[in-house]
């Protein structure tokens, strides 16, 4: 059933399209949400609020020239007038621009609709759950929930709509200072039993942190990375490593793979749009293929190609947005049973989370970052003691190449908790990883 937001957007797009002159093409994108946000500290509320926002981007194309403008809509009758005047401003800009040699838009209409209703209680009830279930615990966290809307319409008649109800609860239980356990619960349908089970699991892990922590010397340690820890590494790689533009301008962190370096044959990375929660379409109107393989059994494969890069570098576009970053990253499973991870690790570090990764030498694929939250020293397959934060500095070719022993058979679907500008629709489907060695420096 179409929503009011959808009908308002398409009606606005229709009205604006009627105002286009012959030879003009108009692309309209909508990004909107209605969200409840609750921030917790010490198992109580720090800030609770509601945000309703809707942004319309108008992109006008004429005689091979293009310009765009983004405006905030109010959801009222005034929106049409504002959009009209904005269209006029964009049209005026076009007059002073040269032809854009890298302009590429989808001109064959491919309309899609994705709608998914969720079932979760009002945010006020979540507050009651937390205050009740986390009583006595040092609980810090953030709950975000509501409907996310993405829309696209162009003057060729294409109409795309993406509307999902999701919740994303990201929290941590703290023992003292930096000793804490991270947990999360995200999805479409809230189940209080699942929330309580996750709280229970985190509470049990917190007990392990009560043991006296150890400070380890820099050096190389055998390590097991949970899916959440691995997400930090794939997240950093998503910052340009798979981008067609970055690869063409030799700025990808996987540059050495263009010169013969390989990762382990166990590494197969895919932009798995059909398995994620991101929209099936992007801002130029291109519909994304179900899957694009980025690394195939350790070898560099496709890049993420935006329409602009496609035109500039003569590549086939594959539905990437202008940032050319994965939005539904999928890392193939391995053969290690997750339940056997500690035994397989034997002696080394169990790393629950990594934090604040960055490149210490980007062209060489060298990455640094910190351990965070539940990280333990393991001996004889048993957790021995929590470890004080350690800095690693190692190359992707060692971590996911020569030192990768295996990935776990089980994978976790991690929905992005990012709320910069808007609630993210990105996700990662990742296993855990057992490494023969990880290099720590501080």
């Amino acid at each position: 059933m179409s929503s009011t937001m959808q009908s308002q957007f398409f009606e606005l797009a229709d009205a604006l399209t009627r105002e286009c002159a012959g030879g003009e093409a108009l692309l309209c994108s909508l990004s909107a949400e209605r969200s409840d946000f609750v921030r917790f500290n010490k198992a109580l509320v720090r800030q609770a609020g509601t945000v309703e926002q809707r942004y319309l981007t108008l992109r006008l194309i004429a005689r091979g020239r293009q310009a765009s403008a983004t405006i905030a809509l109010a959801g009222s009758a005034d929106d049409l007038e504002l959009a009209r005047s904005t269209l006029g401003r964009v049209r005026a800009m076009l007059a002073h621009l040269p032809e854009d040699p890298w302009l590429l838009i989808a001109e064959t209409p491919t309309s899609t609709t994705t709608e998914r209703r969720g079932r979760f209680p009002p945010a006020e009830e979540i507050v009651q759950h937390v205050v009740r279930d986390a009583k006595g615990l040092d609980f810090a966290g953030f709950y975000a929930a509501g409907t996310i809307y993405r829309g696209f319409a162009n003057s060729f008649g294409q109409r795309n709509w993406h509307e999902v109800d999701t919740f994303n609860f990201d929290w941590s239980l703290h023992l003292r200072a930096d000793k804490a356990v991270k947990e999360g619960y995200a999805g479409f349908d809230w189940d209080p039993a699942v929330f309580r089970a996750k709280m229970e699991r985190a509470t049990q892990q917190l007990e392990l942190l009560e043991r006296p922590p150890v400070t380890l010397e820099p050096g190389e340690y055998r390590a097991y990375l949970t899916p959440s820890a691995l997400e930090e590494i794939t997240g950093l790689l998503s910052w340009g490593a798979f981008s067609a533009r970055s690869r063409a301008t030799r700025q990808s962190a996987l540059l050495r793979m263009e010169h013969g370096e390989r990762l382990s044959p166990k590494v197969t990375l895919t932009e798995n749009t059909e398995g994620g929660i991101a929209p099936l379409f992007q801002h130029d109107g291109f519909v994304r293929p179900p899957r694009a393989t980025l690394i195939d059994r350790g070898t560099l494969a496709e890049s993420l190609v935006s329409p602009r890069s496609a035109k500039e570098y003569g590549l086939p576009a594959n539905g990437a947005g202008s940032a050319e970053s994965p939005e539904s990253l999928d890392l193939a499973a391995g053969d290690l049973d997750a339940a056997d991870a500690l035994e397989a690790l034997d002696s080394g570090l169990y790393i629950g989370n990594l934090w604040y990764l960055n490149y210490s030498d980007r062209p060489a694929g060298r990455i640094t970052g910190m351990t965070r939250f539940a990280t333990f020293r393991v001996a004889g397959g048993r957790i021995e003691a929590p470890v004080n934060p350690l800095r690693f500095d190692d190359t992707i070719y060692r971590m996911l190449g020569e030192n990768l022993i295996d990935f776990t058979r089980e994978r976790e679907m991690l929905l992005s908790t990012s709320t910069y500008d808007e609630r993210s629709t990105s996700s990662s489907h990742l296993p855990g990883a057992l490494l023969q060695s990880l290099r720590f420096t501080l």
């Binding site: 800030q47 310009a67 700025q251 501080l442």
Partner: protein, 478 residues
């Protein structure tokens, strides 16, 4: 926005709430992004944003609601939602919010450069196209990019207790980067002048001529040796001091971190409340100020987003920690003095403790003095990599540009300069602070924090500084 402000004031007076305190913050912002890449004009991007944040506070509860519907009905609906949140969290809040803590400020800050633009888009395109073109000096230059972002913001803050503050801001931010490549070696140099002001700023920003300079420097880096490894002296130029201050002084001093709000996301702090007044954060040469008085610095303002009046405050004096970065609500929670730094990135986010202009006061040494004093060390400029633990202690930072110093003289360019350390020790190794001739105003547009996430601009002005016995290293071996 003048007539719009009058309309908003009129609407505001018609709003009703049972909460003893409520506020309305209307934020309007326009942006224009012009860029040239590889001598081709990128599609220009305009944006026009506006909306309102309604905050309600009861005795003990706090709630907010943001809307872009600025009609009386839209604002009242948002205030109702904010008031409902404040009522429902009254017995479940981490702090017994007290409406009496909230100021009722009055003031107006009009930006000095609010007149019509004095340069057309064509003139601006000519300027950035020149820089892009002039970087095309060698076949090994693989990417050239130059851009200008023009931004104007206008904010009105009203409270039911009589507060009425209007503030305007204008930013003109030129940016460029140039990348060189040969085989599996890639090096980049970049330019950013992030300050407040209008087009008049472009003349003294250093943007003109940067294209050829960046290209030359990127090519030098391509053939330079790796930065040496070992413990040695380190001179940080002001554009890297910016990052060093930001990560290892600014974030640790944020009072909301110290109070635990950020533990689930951006992290905690190695600084505790007990340290203020006695803790030796750095050497006696270290003087750090919260300074909203430097006109062109990125985060200069008269009032923060909770209505507190901004004034210059010493946070660290002669190395001793004096005061945290905490706004009115954090001050009430912690029972300690703070700063006017409660800020929101836009209308759709609630204010939290942020950095503003966080500066290091100049010292007495010339850059030549500092270089001359170094037996073996590296001078670094222009941040390229940043990573620090969640307590803001163990850090590792990298720069685009390094120069080896031996026996008091610069001995040539080194690539991939990195250094690492621990905040609590690092600032105690501060051995020389540059004089006013070395002092520069910088800023970052992308400081991320908060739940929901907020990215905000902050200013950092500093002189060049010399640190002793730092762990320095270069890039990966071939």
């Amino acid at each position: 926005m003048g007539s719009m402000n009058e309309t908003i004031r009129k609407h505001f007076h018609s709003l009703r709430s049972t909460a003893p305190f409520w506020s309305l913050r209307v934020f309007e912002e326009s942006r224009e992004h012009l860029a040239v890449r590889q001598d081709t004009i990128e599609p220009p991007r305009l944006s026009s944003d506006h909306g309102a944040m309604l905050v309600a506070m009861t005795d003990g509860g706090y709630g907010y609601c943001a809307t872009s519907d600025l009609t009386p009905a839209g604002l009242q609906s948002a205030l109702d939602r904010a008031s409902a949140w404040a009522a429902s969290t009254r017995g479940a809040s981490v702090h017994p919010y007290d409406p009496r803590d909230m100021p009722a400020p009055k003031g107006e800050r009009l930006a000095p450069s609010t007149a019509a633009p004095t340069r057309s888009s064509s003139e601006l395109y000519d300027l950035i196209a020149d820089e892009c073109r002039s970087a095309r000096v060698d076949a090994r230059i693989v990417e050239r990019y130059a851009a200008i972002e023009l931004r104007r913001a206008d904010q009105l803050y009203l409270t039911n207790t009589g507060g009425d503050v209007r503030q305007q801001f204008v930013y003109t931010v030129p940016y460029a980067h140039v990348t060189a490549n040969e085989g599996s070696e890639t090096q980049s140099r970049s330019f950013l002048d992030a300050r407040q002001g209008g087009f008049e700023r472009l003349a003294d920003s250093g943007f003109r001529g940067c294209g050829a300079r960046l290209a030359d420097e990127a090519l030098q880096l391509l053939t330079a040796p790796n930065c040496p490894s070992g413990r040695m002296d380190l001179i940080l130029m002001p554009d890297q001091m910016m990052l060093q201050i930001h990560e290892s002084i600014g974030h640790p001093l944020e009072l909301d971190r110290i109070l635990g709000d950020e533990r689930n996301y951006a992290g905690t702090s190695f600084v505790t409340r007990e340290m203020f007044g006695t803790y030796q954060y750095g050497s006696k040469l270290l003087n750090v100020t919260f300074d909203p008085t430097i006109a062109d610095e990125l985060a200069t303002y008269d009032f923060d987003d909770d209505g507190a009046a901004a004034e210059k405050v010493w946070l660290i004096r002669e190395g001793v920690l004096e005061r945290p970065l905490g706004g009115r609500i954090s001050q009430a929670r912690a029972g300690m003095a703070g700063t006017a730094n409660s800020r929101a990135c836009s209308w759709n986010r609630a204010p939290i403790d942020r950095m503003v202009n966080l500066n290091i006061e100049p010292g007495s040494h010339s850059l030549a003095d500092m270089i001359g004093s170094v037996k073996r060390g590296v001078l670094m400029r222009s941040n390229v990599s940043w990573s620090i633990d969640d307590s803001r202690n163990k850090f590792q930072f990298g720069c685009e540009w390094g120069e080896l110093i031996e026996d008091g003289e610069l001995k040539g360019v080194v690539k991939n300069p990195n250094y690492r350390g621990v905040s609590a020790d690092f600032w105690r190794s501060l051995a020389m602070v540059g004089n006013r001739d070395t002092f520069e105003v910088h800023g970052t547009l992308f400081c991320g924090k908060g739940e929901p996430n907020q990215v905000i601009h902050v200013g950092h002005a500093a002189p060049a500084c010399l640190f002793k016995d730092v762990e320095v290293f270069g890039g990966q071996d071939e």
